[in-house]
Every structure is written in C-alpha cells, then in structure tokens.
C-alpha cells in the first residue's frame, strides 16, 4: 500500500501536537510495511536556490544537493530522521504558513521569509533563481505577491496537491487537518484515488463559539469530499456528526498514541525540590490556562511549598504573566516559555503532577507524555484523551475548586498517588501507535476489498 499524505508539520519543525502525531503515526505505519510520501509546507527559511519545491528522502531523491544548503542545525536533525526512517520520503513546499496562527502572525513570518529569501538571491545569480522557480512551480509566482493571506496559501497548497498527485503513484490519499483538505481534494480529483481525511481538531475546538466561517467551510467541504474520516476521539467524531452534517458511519475513531523509546528516560538535575504542578501546552483559550491559574491560586493559599509551572507560549502568554503577578504568586509560579526537544523531557522530569484543563480538546497528547515520566495526571472531561485514560482524575475544566481539591489530594496522599501511577503505567501499555497504524491500514484496505 502506498499513501500520498498531506501534513503541515513534521519534526523537528513543529509548533503543536499535529507534527508529533503525524510523526508517530507515519513511523508506525511504515513499520507495518506501508509506503508513505509525506508532503508538507515548511517555514524554516533555509536558503533554497532550487525553488520552493524540493524533494528529499533516503531513496535517491536529490538530497545531497539540498543538504549542503540547509542550515547547520536543521541539517543534523533532518539527517537523524532520514537515517531512522528509510521507508518514506518527504516533499517540502516552502511557505510561511503554520497552523494555529492568525493572519497577522502569518504575515510577520512571511515578511521574515521574504527577507531571508531576498538575501539569498543577492548571493546567487538572479536569473538562475528565476528560471528554476518558474520551471519547478509553474503557475505560482513566488517573487510577486506571494501569499499575504493565510487562506490564499491553503488554496495554493491545494493546487500543489494536484501537481504532486499527477507526478507520483499511490493508492490512497490521506490529509491531516483542515489546511491540507484542499490539497487532498485536488489530489483525489486528479488521481481518482480515495481520500481519507484525518481530523485532529475542528474549528469548534480552536475558536469556541466564534468560529471562523472560511475555516469551517473548508473543514466541511473536506469532510464531505472524503471517502472516510478518521477522528482522534469520540468527542471529535460527535462534533463532526453534529456540526458538519456527516453520517456517523463514515467516521472512524482512531485514538492517538505516543512514541515509546526503549531507552531509559533521561534524568535531569532538579533545581526545585518542592512538589511541582505542571501545565504544558499552547497558552490559548482552548487550553484553559486561566483555569489552571485559578486552581493554582486556591492551592497556593492552602499548601505552603507547592510550585507551579506554566510551560508553553501563545496569544494569552503575556496576559497570564500579568495575572500571576497581580495575584502575587511570583515566588511559586514559573513560566518557561516555548519548550522543544530535550527541554520537554526535562520539564516533565522535574514535575510531580500534570494538569490539562482544556476547554475543548479533540485529543490532547500531553497527559500521555506526562504518564511516561511517571506523573499522575488530571485532565478535563472535555478532552478526547480522557476516553482512553482509565485511571486519570477527570474534572470539568470550569470546576477550578474541584481541580484545586484534587491537586491537593494527589500531592498529599502519597499512597493513593503511587497506586494511580501504577495503574497509569498499565494503561500506557495499551496506548501504542501500532494499534492506530493497523486500524488505518485496515481502513485503507476496505477501499480495495470489494
């Protein structure tokens, strides 16, 4: 089985859970013998004189040329991935577009990229750059008014999807989240192959009730054009059925998982010895950082030494800092900013309890990551992950008094907490990407079984 997959992020360049999930899933699928061609736009701003479209993988794509041009840092990270994952290739499409950003942020990124690109042109012969550009990307005029708007980018990526579909051979198309739906649909029409869309989040999760109509329309269109829909939780499936008018038989729930290395978890020096409660995630309305601070303040007043960490960044970051300062919790409430790679492991390893008070969470991988580090977890009932965590404490996101009570209980009752961690570990055994991968490959098989 060969799959043409459209995604937005892929490690090491990730901004949220989507890239991590795509990585875990594709790795498990390729281990089961599935061949994957992963296509994504990228925003790292490397110098790329071959034009925005480039191809690389471990199987003879013109990678060597490219490696020379990639910045030192990204080069090493990429090589690591390439060596590990010999069975699938990745195609890049240079774009300032990133998920979870508004148009203003997008525009800033775009300007930055343009500046970098113009600098790189100065170093090379202009005519060379121009000719390659027009040859490779055809109708896109990247040197002109290239993408001042997020939506426009999505459609451009869609046209790119059609082009890729004509050049490559595959059996199934699989598109992750709304921004890739136009690409998936275009690939479906240009190849006649079945389309699976994978819903990691919906506009209702991201925006609450102030839904962006164009995003909603794209999501709805994708769902209706899809031959099958994967939803990351029953919660998400319900939203798809209720808000997008999809027949529930077309939607299959495929829960996410985590990549489990056989290596021992790293151990870090722990500067803060007191009990520490962790919030990790984008600091946005969807993730409920306000509720974490409310509960933290209740605990702060009752337990003397407990420390709190808010790890991540987002549009509410500054507001949360000002709230903590106003509440006078600065001596026990810490902000780390955006964390990646080893820093993520580190923040888990110096914490004693992980809270995910999301207002609306299609899945939510953070508690599972936390469990790998032996942390007890408290999750909101409004999260998809709560469906597969049998022993986590579950609360309503708005019930900060109960949350505070539970935090105190976990931190004070060691025996009970130990037994919870034990049960979590057993639970963790049953959470593996191989189950999700098998489920999806089986679902592909249905297209060809008749």
């Amino acid at each position: 089985m060969k799959v043409l997959m459209f995604g937005w992020e892929f490690p090491p360049f990730i901004s949220g859970g989507l890239g991590t999930a795509c990585h875990g899933l594709t790795q498990a699928m390729s281990q089961l013998g599935c061949e994957i061609l992963f296509v994504l736009p990228k925003t790292t701003g490397e110098v790329d004189i071959q034009g925005p479209l480039s191809v690389f993988g471990a199987d003879g794509y013109p990678m060597k040329d490219r490696v020379v041009k990639v910045g030192e840092h990204s080069l090493n990270l990429y090589q690591e991935y390439v060596e590990k994952e010999a069975s699938f290739k990745t195609i890049e499409f240079k774009s300032p577009l990133m998920p979870y950003q508004n148009e203003e942020e997008y525009y800033l990124n775009y300007e930055k990229m343009e500046k970098e690109r113009l600098c790189s042109i100065d170093l090379k012969s202009k005519s060379n750059y121009g000719s390659v550009t027009s040859k490779v990307i055809g109708e896109y005029e990247f040197q002109g008014g290239y993408g001042a708007h997020l939506m426009e980018e999505v459609y451009r990526f869609g046209r790119f999807g059609a082009e890729v579909a004509m050049n490559e051979s595959f059996d199934v198309i699989h598109a992750h989240d709304w921004m890739t739906y136009p690409a998936g649909i275009a690939a479906k029409y240009s190849s006649g192959k079945p389309l699976v869309i994978h819903v990691h989040a919906t506009e209702f999760d991201r925006s609450g009730n102030s839904v962006n109509q164009s995003v909603y329309d794209l999501e709805r269109h994708g769902m209706h054009e899809a031959d099958k829909i994967c939803a990351v939780s029953h919660r998400t499936k319900q939203i798809i059925v209720d808000h997008y008018g999809i027949d529930s038989s077309k939607v299959e729930v495929v829960h996410n998982a985590v990549v489990k290395n056989s290596e021992d978890l790293p151990i870090y020096d722990r500067g803060i010895k007191e009990k520490t409660v962790l919030f990790l995630g984008r600091i946005t309305m969807q993730k409920g950082p306000d509720f974490f601070i409310d509960a933290a303040h209740l605990v702060y007043k009752r337990l003397k030494d407990v420390q709190f960490i808010m790890a991540g960044s987002g549009d509410l970051y500054k507001r949360m800092i000002n709230r903590v300062a106003s509440l006078g919790m600065q001596n026990r409430f810490h902000f780390t900013g955006f964390l990646r790679g080893a820093e993520l492991d580190r923040v888990f390893s110096v914490s004693d309890l992980c809270i995910m008070p999301s207002v609306s969470e299609p899945f939510g991988i953070v508690p599972i990551e936390a469990m790998r580090f032996g942390l007890p977890v408290i999750v909101s009932k409004q999260s998809g992950v709560s469906e597969i965590l049998d022993h986590a404490i579950k609360i309503d996101f708005w019930d900060t008094e109960l949350l505070a009570e539970k935090i105190i209980e976990v931190l004070s009752n060691e025996e009970k907490t130990m037994s919870m961690i034990q049960k979590n570990n057993e639970n963790l055994e049953r959470i593996d990407w191989k189950y999700a991968a098998a489920q999806i490959i089986n679902l592909y098989g249905d297209f060809y079984r008749d």
Binding site: G271, I272, K318, I321, G328, N331, H334
Partner: protein
C-alpha cells in the same frame, strides 16, 4: 548675575542574563550577563566617558578654576569602570583632583530603597560615600537620589544624614508659578536646601539638541549661553542636570555635541557677572527663596515625572515587593556576597524594563531594554529571584 550649576549622572546596571531560565532555578547562581555588561561599559566609555572627560579636563585647565561641575556616579557603575575601563576611573580621578569637580552622594545600587526601607537606603548611601572616598579621596556633601526621585520624607532622612544640599526635578506640579532658578528649602526641613533642575534648558541639550524639527536647532554655544543670560534678574542659578551619556551616546558625536560642550563654558563666561558653581557652593551662595512641599514622590523620568517608570503595574509591583521582602532574610544570613547580589537586584533598571507605558517614553524604555518585552524581563527576573531566595 547668573550662575550655572552643572550635574551629570552616570550609571550602568548589572544587567541580568536574558536566558536565565526556569531550569536554572536551584542550580545556577550566575545571574549577571558579564559579557554584555562588559561590552556596554567599554562602548559607553569609548563613545562618551573618555572623550567628554578629556574635553572637561582641558576646559578646567584652560579656564583656570572658573569652570566647575559635579558628577554623581552610581556605585555599580564605579565597580564596572574599575573592572572594565580603569582608564575611565583615572580620568575621573584627574577631574576630581583639579578641585573644580564635586562628587555627589547617591545610593550605591541606584535603587528605589528610600520608598521601601529607610535602613537599606541609609546603608546604600553609606556604601556609596565610602566608595567615593576610597576612589577619589573626597567626602560628598550634596545628595541626589536615583533618577532624582524625591519627596518630603527623603529630604528629612537626607538632612538627618548631614547633607547640605539635595537635587531634584523642577517639576511644574511642585513649583506652580515659581521658577526653578532659585534655591528652595524642603517644607519639613530647616538645614538642607533644595536645588531644582531647569528641565527646559536641561532637556534642550539632553533630548532636543539634534532634533532638526525643533525651532532651536542648530543649537550653538552662543545661542544657548544667551538663553541663560536672559534669566539674570529673574533667577540666581540655572540647574542643568542630565545624563552624562548626553555627550556622545544619546547625542552622537556627529551632531556636534562635543564641539558644543567645548565651546559653551567660554561662551557663557564671556558675559560679566556669570559663574559656574557646584551644588555645595550654590547652597552657600544663595539663600532659599521659599519652602517647597512634595508629599508625593517626583522624579526626572518620563512625561509624568513621578515613580511610574519603575512601579505601578503588576509586573513591577510584584517584583519590588518580592525583592524587599527578602531584606530580613538577607540580613539574618549576613553573607557579604549574597547581600551584594540582593542589592544588585534592587537596581532600578530591572523595574524600568518591566514598564508597560506606551508613548515616546515607551520607546525610550525600549531603547534601554535588552529584553524583548516587559513580560520577558519579569519572567527572567523572577527566575533569578526564585533561585536567590533558595540560597538564603
């Protein structure tokens, strides 16, 4: 008859490391960005302290005792000059040795201590006094507080410490219809006298000198001297108080600021009945004209001329209450190294970086801020303080 009282302020903080993170708490006791602090001191010494100092020294020699001025150099700036730019210290020694340069007292750590702890305030003033004595062999008799922060209470404390003069901003709201060009006396004091900054003439140099849209541009030494001469008859002295960095750093060399500095004293002295006076001489020469009542703290900062550059928003207030809450623990511990760190963390600049006011003053705050935004500086400062608390 009109006199000019010149006072230049010099201060450089120990900036904390921009990348001091949450993960450093409990593990990393190195808070200050030595590299950045070194390079700033070297840069400012080269652009301002050294070239301006040489001009001043030449002027004093050339004018044979007629040209006088005063400096206030924070203790943390003096320390950093000693370690990063010893030639700057030597130049200041040479200036003080002429007998025409008065050194003023201030808090060693350029702090807001008088608003939070009288005991700590006095301790820092004493440290600074000792440092000035050690380096320059003189005993300061006039006082200026951090950024000219001032109120009745401060005047009482400083009077109690034996000072004869205190300097502050000639803010409109304390003067009302009165002119800053006379000596005044703090309302609740009977010995110490008050010298006020003529902020129009001071800011002509410090802020407007190179502004081509300003009607006064280009400002020549003769023009500026004539503005001061015009005051004769309606005032006794003009307090020109400003950052020393005005010369070469805020106003770059190519604006002609150094030529101005070199020409102004002679241009001013050309007129009969003119003189340069130091702050201590000013209060000896002139009797106080009236009492001035300042119940609420003023300063020379921003348009508001109050404390709002350093306190008032949650970021600043939480940080200030946090650092001063540690006072009793620090004293109890009695460790000289930790006490010095605690005091370096009191330096007003840390709270200035957390200012969230917007306007042209916001831009000034930004210029002096090595952090990306007020929140980032708060997070970093709290990480440092949270580590520091663990060491007490």
């Amino acid at each position: 008859m009109i006199s000019v009282c010149l006072y230049f302020q010099i201060h450089q903080p120990y900036r904390i490391k921009k990348n001091y993170s949450f993960f450093d708490i409990g593990l990393n006791g190195q808070y200050f960005d030595d590299e950045l602090n070194y390079s700033v001191m070297r840069k400012v010494a080269e652009k301002c302290y050294l070239p301006a100092g040489k001009i001043l020294l030449d002027l004093i020699k050339k004018l044979d005792g007629q040209f006088k001025l005063s400096f206030s150099i924070s203790g943390v700036a003096l320390e950093q000059m000693q370690s990063c730019s010893p030639e700057t210290i030597d130049l200041f020694k040479a200036l003080v040795d002429t007998g025409c340069v008065e050194m003023l007292s201030e808090t060693y750590y350029h702090s807001l201590a008088h608003l939070f702890s009288e005991r700590e305030f006095k301790a820092q003033v004493k440290l600074h006094k000792d440092k000035v004595k050690e380096l320059f062999g003189v005993k300061p008799m006039a006082f200026r507080n951090t950024e000219l922060l001032y109120d009745n209470r401060l005047a009482e404390i400083v009077e109690g410490m034996g000072y004869k003069a205190i300097l502050t901003e000639g803010a409109n709201r304390i003067l009302g219809w009165r002119t800053p060009n006379f000596v005044y006396q703090p309302k609740t004091c009977s010995k110490i006298n008050l010298l006020l900054k003529n902020f129009i003439l001071s800011d002509d140099l410090a802020f407007r000198f190179s502004n081509r849209n300003w009607p006064g541009w280009p400002l020549t030494a003769e023009k500026y001297a004539s503005w001061i001469h015009n005051i004769a008859g309606s005032g006794e002295f003009v307090g020109l108080f400003m950052d020393y960095e005005t010369f070469g750093e805020h106003q770059w060399k190519d604006t002609g600021i150094f030529d101005f500095l070199g020409n102004f004293p002679e241009a001013f002295l050309k007129h009969k009945d003119t003189a340069f006076v130091t702050p201590s001489e000013t209060v000896k020469c002139f009797q106080p004209m009236a009492k001035i009542d300042v119940p609420n703290t003023i300063s020379w900062a921003d348009l508001e001329r109050d404390t709002s550059a350093w306190m008032g928003n949650p970021l600043q207030d939480s940080s200030l209450s946090e650092i001063y809450e540690l006072e009793s623990k620090v004293r109890k511990k009695g460790d000289p190294e930790l006490t010095a760190i605690w005091r370096k963390l009191q330096t007003s600049d840390h709270f200035y970086y957390m200012c969230t006011k917007w306007s042209s003053d916001g831009a000034v705050h930004k210029y002096f801020n090595h952090f990306d935004n007020p929140e980032a500086s708060w997070v970093c400062y709290q990480n440092v303080v949270n580590d520091f608390r663990r060491r007490l």
